[in-house]
């Protein structure tokens, strides 16, 4: 097991329990889709893993290391092993694309190297290779805020990969993207995880999209895991348990409509070109 959460709990100062006793194991190469209504604790869960949010109780085992028990300095070293991809990209907008990708190396280089932007040659090479992999090598010198949403998220992916991570945490990667770009981003993520045998936890609102791309789905409700299984085990009654009552078939149908609309659009665009 690459990642193992044991009895992970988070209670905020206000007394709200965001996570209650979560146990979860993720083996190498597996992509887990984390679904659940807003406020169910999805975002808290993945942030407790790299301790952007401090867990109140429990263990976070990454390989042999318990991340929850680390001191500040050691935590920073261990964070290098975990790449994170954010909702709305969270790129530093006024820095160039290259600086954003290189910032994935911050945990490996000294302050002065990073301050003077004099990264080791291998880091720069890796950054170019990653930008090429996500199809943005020509945009290296542009400022991040000059890119479109989908391009920015691909820079976000390159930044996470620059860390040479052993685990990816992905927080709503497609929340601000259009359906087509969302699919491209999800496809890129799954390809990359397969190439590198990387495990990933992906928070995702869009259930059909999750079902299409991930191998395993975990449903969270009010800070507790209420479902853990393969995408096709995700029946109407399970969804109702996670989200509450709603007409799920209508949503599935919507999704099929969207897909056919997309194919149609693609065909039309090809005709113009």
């Amino acid at each position: 097991m690459m990642l193992r959460l044991e009895g992970l709990s988070k209670t905020y100062k206000t007394g709200d329990t965001a996570l209650g006793d979560v146990d979860l194991s993720v083996p190498k190469g597996q992509i887990v889709g984390l679904i659940g209504p807003s406020g169910a604790g999805k975002s808290t869960l993945i942030r407790c893993i790299n301790r952007l949010v401090e867990p109140t109780k429990g263990k976070v085992m990454l390989g042999d290391v318990d991340l929850a028990a680390l001191g500040k300095r050691e935590l920073r070293r261990q964070r290098r092993r975990i790449g994170m991809i954010f909702q709305e990209y969270a790129l530093v907008e006024r820095l160039t694309v290259m600086e954003n990708v290189l910032s994935g190396r911050l945990g490996y280089v000294s302050f002065w190297r990073s301050f003077l932007r004099r990264y080791p040659g291998a880091d720069v090479q890796r950054a170019y290779r990653l930008l090429d992999r996500v199809g943005l090598i020509d945009h290296a010198d542009k400022r991040a805020d000059a890119l479109s949403g989908g391009q920015r998220q691909r820079v976000g992916i390159a930044r996470a990969l620059a860390q040479d991570p052993e685990l990816l945490l992905v927080d709503e990667p497609t929340a601000s993207l259009d359906p087509k770009t969302s699919r491209q981003i999800m496809r890129l993520l799954t390809e990359i995880c397969a190439e590198r045998d990387l495990p990933a936890i992906v928070n995702i609102h869009d259930v059909p999209l999750a079902q299409q791309f991930v191998q395993r789905i975990v449903g969270l409700r009010a800070g507790r895991i209420v479902f853990d299984g393969s995408p096709d085990q995700l029946t109407q009654s399970v969804l109702t348990e996670i989200y509450g009552a709603e007409d799920w078939d209508a949503m599935r149908k919507d999704d099929e409509d969207q897909k056919s609309a997309e194919t149609e659009q693609r065909a039309r665009l090809e005709a113009i070109a």
Partner: protein, 267 residues
């Protein structure tokens, strides 16, 4: 079915919902205003003589004399410009660490309180008061002025920088933190790019405030063009004083246009 809905709408009162309280308050303010104006004592005879002096002053303006005191004016101007530039540079250099220390989201609590206190002291003392104090300590001349302006710059820039840092986009900072970055790297990669344009803009703005202030604090003995202006007024040389004021206005205008152009360039 248009008929069943009202066709007029008025914005409901937002703060004082009670009509009587509202009217009472308006009447109260009107009465206070009348009474307050009634207590002002105006000595019209004094105003008449004052008008005459004012007229002489204005006439001096209309015939500014740049020539007869040109050496004094030039020396004062150069002194002021030197004072302005050096004090702004020192002030900015000190206010950056102070501003970072006074940002709640970057500094530990004790550091935050110390830095905020320094800023509060600097902001609560008006430049003239600091200048009087520093002139008493270091004697007449531009050195006291330089220290005054540097100290005032720290309060101004430190506070605005700290407030700006507290309002940065936290997601960008979170993303940098997640890579395993140290505190220094976080400041350099996530905070600096977000606050830099504003810091440059504020520094340029402070540069022209410092020039204007250098004219004011000169009057209490802190050197520069203000001292020259004070001397001219003391000698009743309103024509020279007029020339000095015109030069001050000119320099401030140049600084204003220059800095707004630069700020636009930095977007």
């Amino acid at each position: 079915m248009e008929g069943s809905y009202p066709s007029t709408w008025r914005r409901p009162p937002q703060i004082l919902t009670d009509r009587r309280v509202r009217i009472g308050l308006q009447v109260g303010i009107a009465i206070y205003l009348v009474l307050a104006i009634g207590t002002l004592e105006v000595d019209w005879a004094r105003v008449a003589t004052g008008m005459e002096r004012g007229q002489r002053f204005v006439m001096g303006f209309l015939q500014p004399d740049f020539v007869s005191r040109w050496d004094d004016i030039l020396r004062g101007l150069i002194e002021s410009l030197t004072m302005t530039l050096t004090s702004t540079v020192l002030g900015v250099a000190l206010s950056v660490p102070l501003g970072i220390g006074a940002a709640r989201n970057l500094a530990p609590r004790p550091v935050y309180y110390v830095c905020r206190s320094i800023i509060a002291v600097s902001r609560s003392l008006q430049e003239i008061i600091i200048a009087i104090f520093l002139v008493a300590m270091f004697g007449f001349g531009p050195f006291a002025g330089f220290l005054t302006l540097a100290f005032a710059t720290i309060g101004f820039l430190g506070k605005l920088l700290a407030d700006d840092i507290e309002e940065i986009d936290a997601r960008q900072a979170e993303a940098v933190r997640a890579t395993g970055a140290s505190w220094g790297q976080l400041v350099n990669y996530a905070v600096q790019p977000q606050v830099m344009p504003r810091l440059i803009g504020l520094s340029l703005y402070r540069l022209d405030i410092n020039f204007r202030e250098s004219a004011v604090i000169g009057i209490v003995g802190a050197g520069g063009i203000g001292a020259t202006l004070n001397t001219a007024i003391d000698r009743y040389e309103y024509d020279s004083a007029g020339a000095i004021l015109l030069i001050i206005i000119g320099v401030v205008m140049i600084a204003e246009y220059g800095s707004s152009y630069l700020r636009k360039f930095l977007q």
